[in-house]
């Protein structure tokens, strides 16, 4: 039943985002560029910031099942999001802000899932990542450049 709800999307293909009042949380499959989408229903009365915050929290918490094959934010990650003019600014805290010890594939997968999830929400075009409140070139110990807003085109092959 749950498997039937999964939407597997290749990175170079067009992404179909469910229409309101649903949102989709995307996770990247470990060792690949493929995204897995988990659709959620949200209260249509919620504002844009509340929906974005909800989506971000769900993304960081991870899905209830199938976690082993997905790239997830490290345990203890905390995040907040603000929206301004089509840019969602996500501030990351916790262990990920001190040291990222994964590989390049996982690192880009995390940011891809974050970008696809938030830009799937109405009005959000790009995602600016902050680390402990600061604009950084990359995560500490990381390689992926995050000092400019990320869009879905960032991940085009």
């Amino acid at each position: 039943m749950l498997a039937a709800t999964l939407v597997i999307i290749g990175c170079s293909r067009h992404v179909t985002v469910p229409t309101s009042p649903k949102l989709t949380i995307y996770y990247c499959k470990a060792g690949s560029d493929d995204l897995v989408g988990f659709p959620f229903s949200v209260d249509p009365k919620l504002g844009a910031s509340a929906v974005a915050s909800y989506a971000l929290n769900q993304l960081i918490a991870g899905p209830a099942v199938g976690r082993d094959s997905l790239v997830l934010f490290p345990a203890g990650t905390q995040a907040s999001v603000t929206i301004d003019g089509g840019v969602a600014t996500v501030d990351l805290h916790g262990p990920i802000a001190r040291s990222f010890q994964g590989g390049g594939g996982d690192e880009s997968g995390l940011f891809k899932s974050l970008t696809y999830t938030l830009t799937g929400l109405p009005g959000i075009k790009s995602v600016q990542v902050l680390v402990d409140g600061r604009n950084r070139a990359a995560l500490p110990g990381g390689q992926f450049e995050i000092d400019e807003p990320l869009t879905r085109e960032t991940f085009a092959q």
């Binding site: 060792g31 590989g103 594939g105 950084r136 990359a138």
Partner: protein, 682 residues
């Protein structure tokens, strides 16, 4: 007798080493110095800067010293417990300091210095002025700050029958910018250099035919000196700028006829460009131009289009000329970095083809020939359905053997180059085999005067397209309007920079069960790769050769990643390869992936990926485009290789084996060879 005494003293000092060094520390206490230090206008922060006997000294393990060396394209080798500290300048010249000795060896010549490196306790210090002078940098101490930059040591004129040449010589590699201003009939050509002038405000008489005089000026803030050369140019005069072979000089040619602007290959060879100048300078000198050729979007200029050429002129080399060597030497400067005294340009009947490489964009591919000067060429196309065409380059000598240039492009199946004729003419033939009917354009590449580009477009040729044509590259020229810097290809086409990922306080990924640390593995692979590439004839520089941060250990991730890019950019390398080991939250993923960012780097990534998968037998995860910092901020072809997964048990067991690391290194080296066809040979 003195020599014997010196040898005996040296032997004695070695016998008593290291206790003598420690005893020396008693007599040479170091007082902390908090002065600011600027190198090429960039502030370098030293943690351990001091004074001893009135001279600035720095600890050899100071990250500031590493940063300073990176800015000037030099590197240091020192093994704790040994007496020798070896620096290699950007031009490859070795400089050896010996602990406790007041003689420094520069290219096998000894130079006396007030005192040499010494220990204070267990810490080794080196005198900063002696080091920077050996590196060709001039120092100025103003308001509690030191500024280190090259010095312009001479400006000489040579007035020939048809042109005037202004020779500028410096103590270290120069970068410059040129611009025209003033009324069209009496324009002023201003060339600015990052560096000191030793005779500011003086004038050099240029005779009045092509130009009146050159005035030397000094600008810029104390930390970032800039020398300007303002030349009053006569109406209708064109100019070309040529970097000297050492990089530490420039020859400015002023002439009315374009054919007189070229210089012989000796003076036209591209060399080092400094790429680390500050953005906020009042008269900014440009950073090094991208060493990748411009995108194929019309910048191949001014392309002698294949359909619109008349008969070729056999050679662009000017006739010999009698020169009036009246010169104005601005001052004697016995700096070890000086390249003064270079012979006057002489004509050469042959131009060398030093390198051939292929880059691709979305709808076109470009084949670039790196040359020592302008050439003429002739091209022919075979009749359909055969899409092949060939280009014969006259009066040219191919450096290296005939070869297939690696290509795996959608538009081009193969590119072959060979010395087709030696007598009576020297002709190099390039045979290109497109996979479909294509349109082509051939010409000098804008901004790279000694590069011939062949652009191959996916669109079929028009029905009336000719089947053959001829063309000739022009010597670089500028009209009286704002001009761009003359920008050759990679300053060192035989240099590769390898970046062992992570290091120091950033170990990267780990697998504790197998006792594997990414930063250790990347260094081991990088060192093996360096040896493999050096055996193949490449020069190789590592961004780090130990377990330490490349940038400031207390700096942030941006500073660390940029420091790695700076090594390659400042050195003017041909290729940049960042070595990593992958890891995932899942234990399932395995295999190799090579990442690129720019479309032009896809071919290099594919060559390395294919060869590494072949040589290791590891899984093939393919090439991927990803926004990794070090492959976005390097000026040359750049890739990042993730060599299997630490998180996968099978991969981890292989990564424990020396033979597997050997094969990874060999695979990357084979990929480099496949992509480049081997290093250019002098």
């Amino acid at each position: 007798m003195m020599r014997r005494l010196a040898v005996a003293l040296a032997a004695l000092s070695m016998l008593v080493w290291p206790p003598a060094a420690h005893s020396q520390s008693i007599a040479t206490p170091v007082a902390r110095l908090s002065d600011q230090v600027f190198v090429f206008g960039r502030e370098v922060v030293f943690e351990h800067l001091g004074t001893s006997r009135g001279v600035a000294v720095v600890r050899v393990d100071d990250a500031g010293l590493t940063a300073m060396l990176q800015i000037v394209g030099a590197r240091m080798q020192f093994q704790p417990g040994t007496r020798f500290i070896v620096f290699t300048r950007a031009d490859g010249e070795p400089i050896t300091f010996t602990v406790g000795s007041n003689a420094v060896s520069i290219d096998n010549a000894s130079v006396a210095i007030p005192f040499g490196p010494f220990y204070e306790g267990t810490q080794l210090w080196i005198p900063l002025p002696a080091l920077t002078e050996a590196l060709g940098l001039w120092a100025r101490h103003v308001h509690d700050s030191y500024a280190f930059s090259p010095q312009i040591v001479s400006v000489q004129r040579h007035i020939g029958q048809h042109r005037t040449i202004v020779e500028v010589r410096a103590t270290a590699p120069l970068s410059w910018r040129a611009s025209f201003d003033g009324p069209p009939k009496h324009p002023t050509l201003t060339v600015t250099f990052a560096g000191f002038a030793n005779a500011a405000d003086s004038k050099v008489d240029l005779g009045g035919r092509e130009a009146k005089a050159a005035t030397i000026g000094q600008q810029g803030p104390p930390g970032y000196p800039i020398t300007s050369l303002s030349i009053g140019v006569m109406h209708g005069v064109k100019f070309a700028a040529h970097r000297t072979s050492s990089g530490a000089g420039m020859d400015l040619v002023l002439a009315r006829n374009e054919g007189d602007l070229a210089l012989g290959p000796t003076l036209a060879t591209p060399s080092v460009q400094i790429s680390t100048l500050p953005k906020a300078a009042p008269t900014p000198v440009p950073t090094a131009a991208p060493t990748v050729v411009p995108r194929v979007d019309g910048t191949l200029a001014p392309a002698p289009n294949v359909s619109a050429q008349s008969a070729p002129v056999p050679t662009a080399v000017p006739a010999p000329e009698v020169t009036d060597n009246g010169s104005a030497v601005l001052g004697a400067s016995p700096s070890p970095g000086s390249s003064g005294g270079e012979p006057s340009p002489s004509p050469s009947p042959l131009e060398k083809i030093t390198d051939v490489f292929v880059t691709d964009a979305a709808d076109a591919s470009r084949i670039t020939l790196a040359l020592t000067g302008p050439v003429s060429f002739e091209w022919h196309r075979l009749a359909p359905p055969d899409n092949r065409f060939w280009i014969d380059i006259s009066q040219a000598a191919l450096v290296g053997p005939a070869r297939d240039v690696f290509v795996k492009l959608a538009l081009v199946r193969s590119v072959k180059i060979s010395q087709h004729e030696i007598t009576p003419d020297h002709v190099v033939r390039l045979i290109i085999d497109p996979s479909q009917p294509v349109d082509i354009a051939i010409g000098a590449i804008e901004g790279s005067p000694n590069s011939l580009g062949i652009d191959i477009h996916a669109s079929p040729p028009p029905p009336d397209a000719p089947a053959s044509g001829v063309g000739m590259m022009q010597a670089v020229q500028q009209s009286p309007q704002p001009v761009a810097q003359v920008t050759p290809g990679p300053a060192h086409p035989n240099l590769i920079v390898i970046d062992p990922g992570h290091g120091g306080n950033d170990p990267g990924a780990m697998n504790q069960q197998y006792g594997l640390v990414e930063s250790h593995l990347t260094l081991t692979i990088a060192q093996k790769l360096k040896a493999d590439l050096e055996r193949a004839g490449w020069r190789v520089v590592l961004t780090r050769d130990g377990d330490y941060e490349v940038g400031d250990p207390n700096g942030d991730d941006h500073q660390e990643l940029q420091a790695r890019c700076d090594v390659a950019n400042a050195a003017g390398a041909r290729l940049f390869i960042s070595v990593h080991i992958n890891s995932s939250v899942s234990s399932e993923p395995s295999g190799l992936t090579t990442y690129f960012w720019r479309a032009a780097d896809r071919s290099l990534a594919q060559a390395i990926q294919s060869a590494t998968v072949h040589d290791t037998g590891a899984g093939d995860d393919g090439v991927k485009r990803e926004e990794f910092y070090v492959i976005r901020h390097t000026d040359m072809n750049a890739v990042l290789v993730e060599n299997t997964y630490l998180s996968n048990a099978h991969d981890a067991s292989l990564l424990q084996q020396t033979w597997f690391l050997d094969r990874i290194a060999a695979g990357i080296a084979h990929g480099v060879q496949d992509y480049t066809g081997g290093p250019p040979r002098p």
